[in-house]
Every structure is written in C-alpha cells, then in structure tokens.
C-alpha cells in the first residue's frame, strides 16, 4: 500500500505534512488493535484535507499520532510523519512538545469536555500562549482577549474571565479554536469540530475556520464522518475504512466521480435537501469491522454489494485512476465496471438494480 500511497492534491508543491505508511497498533487484552494500517497522505500549506470515515476507521488515531498524543496510550507506531522534513514518529518527546500547540494545533469534537472545567477560559488561553512564548502573564492575557475577539466572541475583555460552563456550545468551540490559534500554527487539525454542535452553529464554526485559514494562511486537516462538512471545507479528501485510505483525490473528483463502493455508500446514505423524496437513502449494510481481526483481502469486501470471491484474498493497493492521476482508489473492480455502477447509482438506482444494469462484474484488475 505504501508504494502506491496516494498524494492528496497536486504533486508539484512541497507538502507541509507528509504521512508515509503510518501504522498504529494498540495492545489490548483482546488482542492487537490495528487502528491505522498503512496510511499515506499529504497536506499542502494553506490547503484543507478532509479525512472522512465512520467511527473506528482510524481517522482520529492517525491525527493524534501526528502530535504524538497516542504515545501516552501505549501505541506502537511505525512509518513516517514528515512535518517540514522532520519525522514526528522518531522525534523525541521534547521536540514534539515544542511543535504541539505551536506549529501544529488541534481542536476536538466535544468542546465542553475538551476545556478544563475548573480553569477560566482566559487562563487556559494564557497557558497555551505561555507554553511556547516567553511572555508575561499580562501580555499573554492581552493576546487571549485578542484571540477571543478574532474568533468572534462578543465582549472578549469580559468573557475572558468566564469559566467554560458559562459559554454556549458554539462559543466553547470558538474558544478551543482561539486556543489552537494562540501561536499561529501552520497546521490545524480539527477532529469532528462540529459534530457536537447545533446545525446552525456548525455552519458558523466552519465559516470561521475558512475565514481564519484565509487570514492566517494555515493548512487544515478536518476529520469528520459528515460529507456535508468536507464538501464545505475541503480541497482534498481522503476516505478511510478500517484503518486504511480507500480513496483519495480532490474534493470535486470525489464528489463528481467517486470510484470506491464505500464512498458511493457514504454519498448515497446522506439525504439531499434538493433531491426527490422518492429517492431512497441507501445505508451501508453491516457494521465497521473489528480492527483486531480485520477482514482479509479488501477490508470492505464483507459489506460490499459488488464483492467477488477473490476480493477476500487479494489486498487492493491504492492505485491512480486512469483519467485523473491525482485521484487514487483501492478497489479490485474493473475501472469500466466501476464507472457503469456509479452511473447507475447516481441515476437513483439501488445497488441491486445497478448491479443488474451494469452487467457482469468479474475478476480483479
């Protein structure tokens, strides 16, 4: 998989972050969990990569590993994570600490539980500033107020002394973003930043992140299960399933001509406000596989409508799509068959109908 490891985005710029064949395993009482199983992607400066997948697909673990935060949980990590040429997998804790919250910052899903309940919002921001800048408390506090203003908290000079529980959900996530921006990072990793928020607040937070990206020129990795969020934000998309990337490419390519049956499933299982009500939602059958004993061959084959017997044996690597060298997919179906199937599905047919209409589905490539 690493050999074919697909870059996301155009290949002619030096990436800010390059992840190569990343593997993360946790030893548990039930066995070794292969949370991330050979993942490669890259993020270009100032761009947004969306990592999409169900819970348990390894998207959060791969990002936490970027900051070295899985070390505390006894993870075994291999592969490389190159940030401006430095390998973060091999880096000592002290070097990682200097990068965390400084050059790479992260925000999390639940802003209430992610803020310390006993410390004032301002104090937590001051701490973020002073973790990397040798400035006085007063200077850091001024910066904290400025940051809260930047992320759109009204009356920041007063709210800086509030406790997190005195903030609304949206304000808490704004405060988390402010904390992440404290040292003007080059890369912001946002792990499900809007999942815990009301729909109206979600849009505000996404708009805020886009504005800040324009103003500060930082790159963003946004991790989500919500294709609506990546459609809004991402330039490039990586779709993860069971610890692997199964498809990656530009956002427009993924939305207009998805190649992987799992991506089709994700696209067909979200309702469209503009679509016909008659068009049925097609959920992906089954549940995400165990990462202790992942399925053989193509990890998706047990849930795939179009799987052939040999797909349980052969491990599909990520390979470029003929028509688009920046678009990669890990699927054993013939490219022509895939195109016919997606054609039928996007016309509103169910997987069964698509399978019939598309004709015989045979043999690996």
């Amino acid at each position: 998989m690493s050999a074919a490891g697909g870059p996301a985005g155009s290949a002619n710029a030096t990436p800010l972050l390059r992840v190569e064949d990343l593997r993360v395993e946790f030893a548990t009482e039930d066995g070794v969990v292969h949370a991330v199983d050979g993942v490669s992607y890259q993020v270009l400066a100032g761009r947004t990569l969306g990592i999409v997948g169900e819970s348990g697909s390894g998207k959060t673990v791969s990002s936490l590993t970027t900051l070295g935060l899985t070390r505390h949980e006894g993870a075994r990590v291999s592969g490389r994570i190159l940030f401006e040429g430095r390998d973060l997998v091999a880096a000592p804790e002290s070097e990682l600490r200097a990068i965390r919250g400084n050059e790479i910052a992260m925000i999390f899903q639940d802003p209430l539980s992610s803020l310390h309940p006993f410390f004032r919002v301002g104090g937590q921001l001051v701490e973020a500033v002073r973790a990397h800048r040798d400035v006085s408390r007063q200077v850091a506090r001024k910066r904290a107020i400025e940051l809260l203003g930047l992320v759109g908290i009204p009356d920041p000079g007063r709210r800086v002394d509030d406790y997190p529980h005195e903030f609304s959900g949206g304000m808490r996530q704004r405060a988390m973003i402010a904390m992440a921006l404290a040292n003007e990072p080059k890369l912001l990793i946002a792990d499900e930043p809007t999942t815990a928020l009301d729909v109206t607040v979600q849009a505000q937070i996404l708009a805020l992140m886009e504005r800040l990206q324009r103003e500060l020129g930082m790159a963003i990795v946004i991790i989500t299960h919500d294709l609506g969020v990546v459609a809004e934000m991402a330039h490039d998309i990586a779709v993860m399933y069971a610890g692997r990337i199964v498809e990656t490419g530009s956002a427009s390519a993924i939305f207009s001509s998805p190649e992987h049956p799992y991506t089709w499933g994700l696209l067909k299982s979200i309702p469209h406000l503009t679509g016909s009500r008659e068009e049925p939602l097609v959920p992906i059958p089954g549940t995400p596989p165990s990462l202790i004993r992942p399925p053989s061959g193509c990890h998706f084959h047990p849930r795939c409508f179009y799987a052939q017997p040999e797909h349980a044996r052969i491990d599909p690597g990520l390979r470029p799509v003929e028509t688009d060298p920046a678009h990669f997919v890990a699927c054993l179906l013939e490219p022509a068959v895939r195109r016919r199937l997606w054609g039928e599905l996007s016309a509103g047919r169910t997987p069964d109908e698509a399978l019939k209409a598309a004709g015989p589905v045979e043999g690996p490539a």
């Binding site: 965390r100 999390f108 992610s114 803020l115 973790a131 990397h132």
Partner: protein, 320 residues
C-alpha cells in the same frame, strides 16, 4: 453564597440542639450508677447524697432537668461539672484541646500529603511493580488497628522501651508553645500512626480518581497545547482528581477530632480522647457528655467547611 452559609450554620445549630437533647436522654435512661452516689465517693451517707442530688438538680423532674441542662448549655455554654473532680467540664476540655488539635491536624497533613503523593505516582504507573507494591502496602496499613500499630512503633523506636532509641516514648508530650522541637519530635510517631490507615485509603482514592481524570478530554487538550507532562499531571490532572479527596479530608478530620481515643491513650497524649477515656472509666458522665457534644460540633463544622470549600474548588457549583 452568604445566604447558603447562613442557612447551613442555622442547620448546624439546630442539629447540635437535637444531638444535645438525645445525649441527655441517653445518659438519663441508660442503666448506670446514681450520679449522686458516684459524686459522693467514699462519703456514702444518705444526707450527703441527698445534698449532692439537690446541688446537681437531680431531685427535680426530668423535664425541669432537661430544661436546666439545655439552658446551661446554649445560653451559658456551661457543660456542667466533673463528678470526679468537680472541675468545670468546659475548662477541662479547653485545656485538653491543644494536644488533640496537634495530633489531628498534624496527622491530617501527613496523610493528605502522603496519600496524594503516593496516589499520583501509583496512577501514573498503574499496573507496574511499584504500583502493586504500594497498593499492597496500603491494604496492610488499612487493615492494621491504630493501637496495634502504635504499640509496634513504640516497641521498635521509642527511647524508653524501643529496640532503637529514636523517638521520645509514650507520655512525653510537650506543648507546642513550651518547646516546639520536643513537641515535634514527640508528635512524629502519633502522626504516623494516625495517618497510616487514612493515607492508605487516600492513596487508593487518589489513584483511582487520577486514572479517571487522566483519560479526560481536557487532559488531551492540555497535552495538545504542548505543556510539559509534569504540568499536565500536576496542574490539569491533580486539580480535578483532588476534589473528592478534599471532601473526605474535611469529614475525616472532623471525625478524628472527636474520636482520637486510641492513639491518645497509646501515646499518653493529654488530649480530648484521653480525657474521654478516663471519664468513661470513672463513669464521669458530664465529661463524656461534653466530649461527645464536642465531637458532634467538630463533625457539623467539618461538613459546613467541606460544602463551602466545594464552591471554591469547583466553579460549576454555585449555592443560591
């Protein structure tokens, strides 16, 4: 907040009145010797006993006695007089307060610091050999009775009867104000004994609380900020993990203030516990009554202090 405090204080006073009433009834109806006869000592002649009975108000009706007792207690803070020495109980208690406070507050500091320190280290290395050794020791200490532990330590380390002459022996208590160094030297063993079992309980409590806290999202945030691990553990982790411990610290201190009988007796510390012990052996009920009331007072005050402390420890708690 102030409304809450006032309300709690009023409840505390009410509770004390109820406890006093119950105490009166206990000592009134429990089978016991005639206080007047006890008071008379060797002069057991009916005239003197009748005189004493009259002096103590024992010839009045139960209701009148109750009223007198409550009036003396709450209007004059008069706890009565010792049957044995005729000394005012209040003065006896006040004169015995300093040794008990020395013992309990010193012990509380020892068990709090030891318990929290050991708990944090154990939590950070949960499952390691060190963790298992420490938690095993804790179990032994919890199970060891105080008087046994006290006697063992005296046998090993006291300057009079000990195998090694390290610490002053039982009965050599010196007041803090008269000689701080001697006071400290003497108090070390009693503090260790008082603290041992409680420190072990606290270590287990802190360990569990700390392991839980370190899995919280805000700990991940603290690490993601790039804070040193030390600061993550001691500021962000311990700040949360310590809350349940502070609660029990207040209550344990309050309880121990009223019940340090065993340790004071083993080490011959002239405190409230020892006063109580002697009073029980002499059936000197006014003193027993006084010390029990004092214990109730300590526990009620400790409860109020804990509640108020909670509002400061956890900003989400606000009392209306």
């Amino acid at each position: 907040m102030s409304r809450f405090v006032i309300r709690r204080l009023l409840w505390g006073v009410l509770l004390l009145i109820v406890v006093s009433g119950l105490l009166f009834l206990f000592f009134r109806f429990l089978p016991t010797a005639d206080p007047a006869k006890l008071r008379a000592g060797r002069l057991q002649n009916p005239r003197i006993i009748a005189e004493i009975r009259h002096d103590l108000g024992l010839d009045k009706s139960t209701a009148a006695q109750f009223w007198l007792y409550m009036k003396n207690l709450f209007l004059h803070f008069n706890l009565g007089y010792s049957y044995y020495s005729n000394a005012p109980v209040k003065e006896l208690i006040v004169s015995r307060l300093a040794p008990t406070l020395s013992l309990v507050f010193g012990g509380a500091i020892v068990w709090f610091v030891a318990g929290v320190g050991v708990g944090v280290v154990s939590a950070r290395r949960a499952g390691s050999r060190l963790d298992r050794a420490v938690m095993g020791t804790a179990l032994v200490l919890v199970s060891a009775p105080e008087y046994w532990l006290g006697l063992i330590l005296l046998y090993l380390l006291a300057s009079d009867i000990g195998q090694l002459h390290v610490f002053p022996g039982a009965g050599s208590y010196v007041g803090l104000t008269s000689d701080p160094v001697k006071w400290f030297e003497f108090m070390i063993l009693p503090w260790l004994v008082v603290a041992a079992g409680t420190a072990a309980v606290y270590a287990r409590l802190v360990r569990g609380s700390m392991i839980e806290t370190m899995a919280e999202d805000y700990i991940r945030t603290a690490r993601a900020k790039g804070l040193p691990e030390r600061r993550v553990v001691l500021r962000h982790g311990l700040r949360s993990a310590i809350n349940p411990v502070v609660t029990v610290l207040g209550l344990d201190t309050g309880v121990l203030l009223g019940s340090s009988v065993l340790v004071e007796t083993v080490f011959g510390i002239p405190g409230i516990g020892r006063l109580n012990y002697t009073a029980i052996t002499h059936a000197d009920f006014p003193i027993v009554q006084g010390t029990v009331l004092l214990a109730a007072l300590f526990i009620i005050v400790a409860n109020i202090v804990v509640d108020i402390a909670y509002a400061f420890l956890d900003p989400r708690v606000r009392y209306g």
